[in-house]
Structures are given as C-alpha cells and as structure tokens.
C-alpha cells in the first residue's frame, strides 16, 4: 500500500473540499469516514467479517473478498473489494457514485479526468481549451459546455476568464503555440498567460445554445491581432441556467429507459447492454430535469425489469405527461455506423385518416353547472396522431442540441412507425443515443462525461420545448387568384 495520489475535490453547494485518496493494489481508494463528512453514512461491521453501510435508511452490504456490493438489494460491481486498514474502511473511488449515488437524495457524480466529485445541482461545466499557432501569433479557443456566463479580463501578459460556475471540469489543453506560455485553471477562473514576446490579445466571447466560447487571438509582436471572420460576432453571455424555472405547459415529463429484464436490447462487442445504459441515463435525466426545470419526471421503469410497450404507453398516458422521451442505444449490421438519431412517429394512410377524423368527430357534451365541454375521440392505439407536429418540433430541438456537441456527428431526425410512440397522447420522441455496435461508441457509452452530455442535450431540448413558443401552423393554401387578362 502506498500513499501518493492527489486528493479528489468534492464540489457541493457547501463549497469545495479535499477527499484524500489511497492506492490499494493499484486502485484508488477513499476512506468511508472521510466520505461521511459530506454524505451522512454509517458503517457497521457484521459478524461474518463484512460491512454494512447505511445511507438514508437504506443499506449497502459488502464483504472483504468480493468486488461486488449489494446496494439496496441490487448487485453493483466495483474495481476492487472494500478493505479495512486499522479502524478505517476503505472503498474504491467508484463506490461513491455507483453504490452511494443511488441511495443519496442528490446527484453524486465523479468526473474522473478532472478528479472532481460533484454533489447536488452545482454548476460544473466542462472546459476544453485548444491552442493553435496562427502565423507568428496564436489562437486560443476555450469552450464551456453547458454554456455559462463568462467575464474576461485582459492584461498585458495574460487573459483571465472568470466562468460563472461552482467549479470547472477542465480537460487537458490540446495543442501548443510559442505565443502561449501557460493555461491554468484555478477554481472558476481560467488564466491564459502569454509568452513575453507575444503581441496584443483580442478576446471574443460568444454563447450558443449548447456552449459558450471564448476565442483569444494573439497577434505577432508589434502587430494588431487579427480577429478571424470565422469567429462569431460577440454576444453578451446569458445568465447561467436558472434552477426550477417555470415551464409553462410542461409539468410532467415521462422518460422511458428502453428494454429491461430479460430483454437486454443491443449488446455491444464489449458486453455493454443497452438496458443498462438507458436506465442510467434516465435516472440522471430525472435528477437534472426535476432540479433545473422543477417538473415532475416519471420513469417507465426505475430498475432492471421487463416492461411491455403497452405498459410504457399506459404509464405515460396515466401520468398525463406533457413530453415523452424514450431512450435507446442503436444497432446496425456494420460496426462502422455511428452517431445519435432522433425518431418521431410517422403515420401511414390509416394514421392520417385517424388524425383527420379526430377533429371531425369532436363532440360537445353538456357538463354540470351548464355549458359544454368538447371531447375529441381518437383511437387509443393511434393517439400520437394528433401530436405529430409537436413531436417533430421536439425531435428537431433534440437533434439541434446534439449537433453542437464536440465529436458528435450531425443527428439525423427521422420519422418511423415506432410501436412505443403510437399510443402516446403527448409529444414524444425516441432517442437513439449512439450505436453499441460501434466499438468507440460502446466505449463512450460507459463514460460518465459522455452520458452527462447526452443528458444535457435532452435537458436543453425539453427546456426549449417548454419555454419557446411553438411556431404558428402553416397558413392554409389560398386558392389562386383569378387570372386577370384583357377581355
């Protein structure tokens, strides 16, 4: 056993604190009594040499010789078994998000690359910095995902970017240039230090739906910096995403983790099962949507069990959902196929007839106290027919949110006759998050950051769907005006 790894930074609403890390058999471990400082857990040994960890009234049972723990009755795999050193119980770092996370009443997310343990709904955007030489000068591009407000301060030898966040998830800087001496992050400030011989720096900040971007153009010595025309025009940075904003018209969101139980869905070559990815993303999405938008989120399944397609539809309709998102991982006959895809319902002739008839068959029925109430009737198995345009809008917003993400291919938007969507009486899409048949995407599907990015995209789409007004329906085509000719 050796000491040595840098501590993990725990970021929560209470601030930032260090969590010491110990190496055990090459794996990073944390002491459970250190973890107890921010998660109210209790540790109790049993007579068989095992240990029971209790958090919020629910238990995790572990033994010293097995890299598996039972979390409230469900088995969770860990990189190594829990171990005891003196009076202290140590657990692999992954124990915190994987075993304690499901029992906690808040988000528990470990960002391995930046060694951040994120607790609760704090803002920790991913910050990616790219340095490129531009002639004798340089360009530094800083991208912040999800977008956050930025304030830049330029001095003679450096540019400081203060990001409106609780902490930064900083990716390693890519590229170098002689004009850039150092890029360093400290708390929520990223500082770009210029080389002594560098010229002036011009800073441009822009914000899009999916990312905020700061571009620093550094001129060669003695010259004015040239701002590339490719850089978007400066725009004021918006405030950070509000918590629990009102979402008119959308109060209940139904998230449908695809497959489950004996139906594992697509299986990747590395063994990743679609049903596991969809459930994990669904739970993350529920936390984010409830915390950020203040909406009620219903999951069609919250554990590994089989749910029929009709049961999923019924759950959503009974909950009177306003938005439905079905989560899936895709499969293709070739491992080369890659990228996300967003589907919405396509109607055949029968469905189109049903849609037309739904309006025509509306009946005005008398109600108690006088007056009437218009009742539209529609076939239960084609209830989606009257939401097609709104579903298309939701699909377009989700596809748009995905296209801006780094490394993601443009997300195709496709109508298709999909079983789970047909009977839904609300705007609905089916989101294929990536191809498990593609080795790179299977690997990415296991990555926390990649899953967080998918969650962020759905959140943005639902938020915009809820808050932006729907475009007016196209005006009916007017009959052509009678031709005017000389008589």
């Amino acid at each position: 056993m050796a000491q040595g790894p840098a501590p993990i930074s725990v970021v929560s609403a209470a601030g930032r604190r260090a969590l010491p890390v110990t190496l055990v058999n090459g794996q990073e471990y944390v002491a459970l009594d250190d973890v107890a400082a921010f998660l109210p857990l209790a540790v109790r040994e049993d007579r068989q040499g095992g240990v029971v960890i209790t958090l919020r009234g629910r238990s995790i049972v572990a033994s010293r010789d097995r890299a598996l723990v039972s979390v409230d009755g469900r088995v969770v795999a860990l990189p190594g078994p829990l171990t005891r050193t003196g009076n202290r119980w140590l657990a692999p770092v992954d124990f915190v998000p994987r075993a304690l996370g499901p029992l906690a009443d808040q988000r528990v997310e470990y960002r391995r690359g930046s060694r951040l343990l994120v607790l609760g709904m704090v803002r920790v955007p991913r910050v990616t910095t790219r340095v490129e030489s531009a002639g004798a000068g340089a360009r530094v591009t800083v991208e912040i995902v999800p977008p956050a407000g930025v304030m830049t301060v330029s001095e003679t030898d450096r540019v400081a970017i203060r990001i409106d966040a609780d902490a930064l998830d900083v990716a390693p800087v890519s590229g170098t240039a002689p004009a850039v001496a150092l890029v360093r992050a400290d708390q929520a400030v990223l500082t770009v230090t210029l080389a002594p011989a560098a010229g002036d720096a011009k800073v441009t900040a822009t914000t899009q739906d999916t990312a905020a971007r700061v571009v620093i153009d550094i001129a060669p010595p003695g010259q004015e910096p040239e701002v590339s025309t490719a850089a978007p025009a400066p725009a004021p940075a918006p405030p950070p995403p509000p918590l629990a904003v009102a979402t008119p018209g959308v109060r209940t969101v139904v998230i449908d983790p695809g497959h489950g139980g004996a139906d594992g869905g697509v299986k990747g070559a590395g063994g990743t099962l679609e049903k596991q990815v969809t459930l994990d993303v669904a739970k993350r999405l529920k936390s984010l949507l409830e915390a950020r938008l203040g909406v009620h989120v219903v999951l069609t399944r919250d554990d590994d069990r089989a749910v029929t397609l009709d049961e999923r539809t019924a759950t959503a309709n009974n909950a009177k959902g306003h938005v439905f998102v079905s989560l899936h991982m895709n499969g293709a006959p070739s491992p080369a196929q890659t990228g996300p895809a967003v589907f919405f319902m396509r109607l055949d002739r029968e469905g189109e007839d049903t849609r037309r008839e739904a309006g025509a068959q509306a009946q005005a029925l008398p109600v108690l106290g006088g007056g009437t109430r218009v009742i539209e009737t529609i076939r239960w198995d084609l209830a989606q027919a009257r939401h097609i345009e709104e579903s298309r809008r939701l699909a377009a917003l989700l596809a748009g949110a995905l296209e801006g993400r780094e490394g993601s291919a443009p997300a195709p938007m496709q109508p298709a006759p999909l079983r789970v969507l047909a009977g839904l009486d609300m705007p609905a899409v089916l989101f294929e998050m990536g191809y498990l048949t593609n080795p790179a995407q299977e690997k990415a599907a296991a990555n926390d950051d990649a899953r967080a990015a998918l969650v962020q995209a759905v959140y943005e789409a639902v938020n915009r769907f809820a808050t932006e007004p729907a475009p007016p329906p196209p005006a009916p085509a007017r009959p052509p005006a009678p031709a005017r000719g000389r008589r």
Binding site: S334, Q337, L418
Partner: protein
C-alpha cells in the same frame, strides 16, 4: 332373292363402317386422356425459367438498404412468385452486402388479399436472433416490405407475422401490428447492380 342379297350386303357394309368409326373414335379418345409414353429417351429438362427481382440487402456501410437485382425462379401466380422472392431474400446476401434479416429465418407462409395487402409469416428466428436497435430493425422490416411491394404488382402494403401470429414488433421498436407501406427513404438511391 337378288333384292334380299342387296339389302344384306348394304346392312353388312353399314355395320362394318359403324364398327370402324367407333374403333377410330375410341383410339382418338384414348390418346388424349392417357399420358404420353415416350418412344425415345427423354431429353434433359429445360432450364427453369427465371425472372429478375429487386431485393433489398444491407448496404456495405450498414447505413441503408441497397437494391440488388437477383435472378429468382419464375413461378405461377403472385403467391408462388412472392414465395420465391422471399426465399431468395432470406438467403445470405451476395458480397459485399450485409444481412439485415437474422440467419436461420425461414418463410412459413404468404397470404395475399384482394385489397393489396400481403401477410408474410416468418419463423421465430427473425425476432429471437435479431441483434436489436431501431436502425437495424427498420432495415429488417423494410427489406421485406420493399421487396414485396417493388416486385409484386398489386401489393401495396405488407404485414409481418412472426411464427404464425400477429406481433407488436420484431425487436421492440418498429410497429408491425398493421400492414406497412414501402419506405423508399431507407433505400440508397443508386442504380441496382445485378447479381446472377
């Protein structure tokens, strides 16, 4: 006396002519109702007549369906021809195309209605051995739907049955409870190469 002999000769001649006529008539009838007996060694069977059908396989990149012209045996009537087309479609595709229908899937039955609907009953392997995913399932379903609607005049919609029963979907995504129309959007738009 002489007169009696003349009557007898005429009667005999008439009877002889009647007997000959009946004999010739029976020989003629016998020839048309009995199988021909070959008088010479049978020639080699003529090669089975074939037609060229457009089948749909996975394009080499897996993104779409590729239309491929394939020779299939000519059959009598649309149902028999439909069976030949489906049996050819269920065979492993020629290189470099990719299989979009799980191997081992067989055709159990084919029904055509006068309203232009085809009911294609596939064995359980189409579902049990399906790798899953919306994209892969769309390719599976529309390889069958497009093949039937493209090659059989009068077939406008196709409903898949699995192991003799109506099904919700093949692999949990595509709604196959109702007949489906052809979907050209899944087909790569390029000239179909011919495969013998």
């Amino acid at each position: 006396m002489r007169r009696t002999a003349l009557f007898g000769l005429a009667g005999f001649t008439a009877l002889a002519l009647l007997g000959w006529g009946v004999n010739v008539g029976l020989q003629y009838l016998g020839r048309t109702s009995s199988p021909e007996v070959p008088v010479a060694p049978a020639p080699a069977p003529a090669p089975t007549a074939r037609i060229t059908a457009t089948l749909f396989y996975g394009a080499p990149d897996g993104m779409s369906l590729a239309p491929v012209r394939v020779d299939v045996p000519l059959a009598e009537g649309p149902v028999a021809q439909g069976r030949q087309i489906l049996r050819a479609l269920l065979q492993p595709p020629p290189a470099p195309y990719l299989a979009v229908i799980p191997p081992g899937t067989t055709l159990r039955a084919l029904y055509l209605t006068t309203g232009g609907d085809a009911f294609v009953d596939l064995s359980a392997e189409v579902s049990a051995k399906h790798p899953g995913g919306t994209h892969a399932e769309l390719l599976t379903v529309y390889a069958v739907v497009n093949a039937m609607t493209t090659n059989l005049q009068g077939v406008q919609r196709v409903q898949l049955l699995i192991d003799g029963r109506e099904a919700d979907s093949v692999a949990g995504h595509v709604d196959v409870r109702r007949p489906l129309e052809r979907d050209p959007s899944l087909v790569r738009q390029e000239p179909a190469p011919a495969v013998k």
